[in-house]
């Protein structure tokens, strides 16, 4: 790794201590078997089709136009939105405004330390978020301008992408950016016949490994009022019928989150009124 001249540099040979813990002899299959018991109850006591509890709050960042903080189980994410600004380095006129998304994991947010520079996964998530949010924002209302959306994951306990999209949606709404609808998002992890809604970090990682032939993760975001899916993201190997069933589950789950976001957004409006 080259020396970063703009940060204080650690010794070059630092390695996570987890590498030296007593060797975990369990294969991923064995690990997976512990995740769900016979009654479809997971380690944390949730049923396989049960979503974790969400806590949400807007207006956490003083100088942002809009901001939101979300806690989905242990997953903790902050999102902020800034006023439209002129698109830098652009000379031609564009009819629709642009959305710039920046998704970042804090260095301490995952079991393994993350680097300061944006890695490929973060870049991928940024572009997925951009696609998902673009559909919800009335981009024709601010031609030639760009809205900046920043997301920081403080603690990644699974389903970070969907939680980030939900939080970014709430931040956009509280920033007064014109939107077609409230956007919510949900994650589903599939391994064989098991279908886990809103997986935690361990469930998520295990579903990415091919223990059985059919496995994978699906993230969708939904514009609830008009029953539209604004984006669909899938990894792994799944047959078509499983996918369509999954979409139904996810769609339902996304709709269930909507009232929470609505309540949160309205609260921010009322807070705004009492200030002025």
């Amino acid at each position: 790794m080259p020396i970063d001249h703009k940060r204080i540099n650690p010794p070059e040979d630092a390695v996570p201590y987890k590498l030296f813990t007593k060797l975990n002899t369990k294969s991923s299959q064995e690990q997976y078997q512990q995740i769900l018991d016979k009654n479809q109850i997971r380690k944390d006591g949730r049923h396989a089709s049960e979503h974790r509890k969400i806590y949400m709050k807007t207006g956490v960042i003083a100088h942002a136009k809009g901001s939101a903080y979300i806690e989905q189980g242990q997953t903790k994410i902050v999102a902020s939105v800034f006023d439209p600004r002129e698109i830098p380095n652009r000379l031609d006129y564009c009819l629709k405004g642009e959305v710039y998304c920046d998704f970042k994991f804090a260095p301490f947010s995952c079991p393994k330390r993350r680097l300061h520079q944006q890695d490929s996964q973060e870049k991928e998530y940024s572009s997925i978020m951009k696609k998902a949010l673009e559909a919800a924002i009335c981009r024709h209302e601010f031609p030639n301008f760009q809205v900046d959306v920043y997301v920081l994951v403080l603690h990644n306990a699974g389903s970070a992408l969907s939680a980030a999209i939900t939080a970014a949606g709430a931040a956009l709404a509280s920033a007064g950016i014109p939107m077609f609808d409230i956007i919510t998002s949900s994650t589903l992890a599939i391994q064989g016949k098991d279908v886990l809604l809103d997986p935690d970090f361990e469930e998520e990682t295990l579903s990415e490994i091919a223990i059985e032939k059919e496995h994978g993760i699906i993230v969708i975001s939904v514009l609830a009022t008009h029953d539209q899916i604004s984006h669909f993201h899938q990894v792994g190997n799944l047959p078509l019928n499983v996918v369509s069933d999954s979409i139904d589950i996810l769609h339902k789950s996304c709709k269930e989150i909507v009232p929470l976001v609505q309540k949160c957004v309205i609260r921010s409006v009322l807070a705004g009124i009492s200030e002025t």
């Binding site: 030296f20 813990t21 007593k22 301490f108 920081l152």
Partner: protein, 274 residues
């Protein structure tokens, strides 16, 4: 109307307020903002804390890794503090490598940690020349509204106090290391340095605990770091000159504030342990 006046002629706007001994946010000139500490909420980190000074929110997460000590200090481990000012926290920051402000903050924080000797780096060494702990302390600003250093130090110190390191068995002959995660130890934090920020407005009025707007309008901003009843840093990086009398008044105030904030951290730690 007042809002547009604030945008168009900010100095005059502030001058009018300060002439009547009050700041636009309703504080007196010599008043501090409330402080909040929350400890140990990020389980993926080995130690973590969130500090909030007024509207400035900072989160510090500490990740421990194993490394070999430097040949010149063979008996010492590492504490690597880095302050991150992401574009998320304020419209004045842009994405990209750390800004000059973030770099200066990181260095100042590293200096304060070194000067105050709050942590004995030798205790982070597991075996001389062979194995040591490297603590990555990443301090990320979530919301930026002035007095950044105050919040950074509180977050870092509170996070350090919450660090739980596993016990490591090291066999120098075979160079084998075994980490026992069941058994964990906390760090021995000797003392807690506390930073207070002050700004000089119009070269004569001292504002305590300035907000972002105040800092940008002021001609000088300086930090005083107190450890127990000693000073561990008086950092004034240029700007308008200050008279001795005002400087020592600020030192006195920071000492009083430091003891209350130390108690605050203690209370939060105690809450965490119960």
């Amino acid at each position: 109307m007042a809002e547009s006046f604030r945008v168009l002629h900010p100095i005059k706007y502030y001058r009018d307020y300060i002439a009547s001994n009050v700041r636009p946010d309703g504080r007196g000139l010599h008043k501090f903002r409330p402080v909040l500490v929350n400890i140990g909420s990020i389980q993926t980190a080995d130690g973590s804390a969130l500090a909030k000074v007024g509207d400035t929110t900072v989160i510090c997460g500490i990740k421990a890794e194993l490394c070999t000590p430097k040949p010149e200090c063979a008996r010492e481990g590492f504490l690597i503090p880095n302050v991150e000012l992401p574009p998320l926290c304020s419209p004045k920051f842009r994405p990209g490598p750390p800004s000059d402000e973030a770099q200066v903050a990181s260095q100042l924080l590293a200096n304060i940690v070194k000067n105050s000797k709050c942590i004995n780096l030798q205790e982070l060494c597991l075996f001389p020349e062979k194995l040591a702990w490297c603590l990555f302390a990443d301090i990320i600003c979530i919301s930026y509204d002035g007095s950044l250093m105050d919040a950074c130090i509180i977050a870092l110190m509170a996070a350090l106090k919450s660090v739980q390191l596993p016990v490591v068995d090291y066999d120098p002959a075979a160079d084998s290391r075994l980490v026992n995660e069941e058994e964990k130890k906390s760090l021995n934090i000797k003392s807690v340095p506390i930073c207070s920020t002050f700004s000089i407005f119009d070269e004569k009025v001292v504002l305590y605990d300035p907000t972002d707007e105040e800092e940008s309008l002021c001609s000088s901003t300086f930090n005083i770091v107190v450890r127990e009843d000693q000073l561990s840093s008086v950092h004034k990086p240029g700007g308008a000159p200050i008279s001795d009398e005002k400087l020592f008044e600020c030192i006195k105030v920071s000492k009083e504030r430091a003891s209350t904030i130390c108690k605050l951290i203690e209370t939060a730690i105690h809450e965490n342990n119960t």
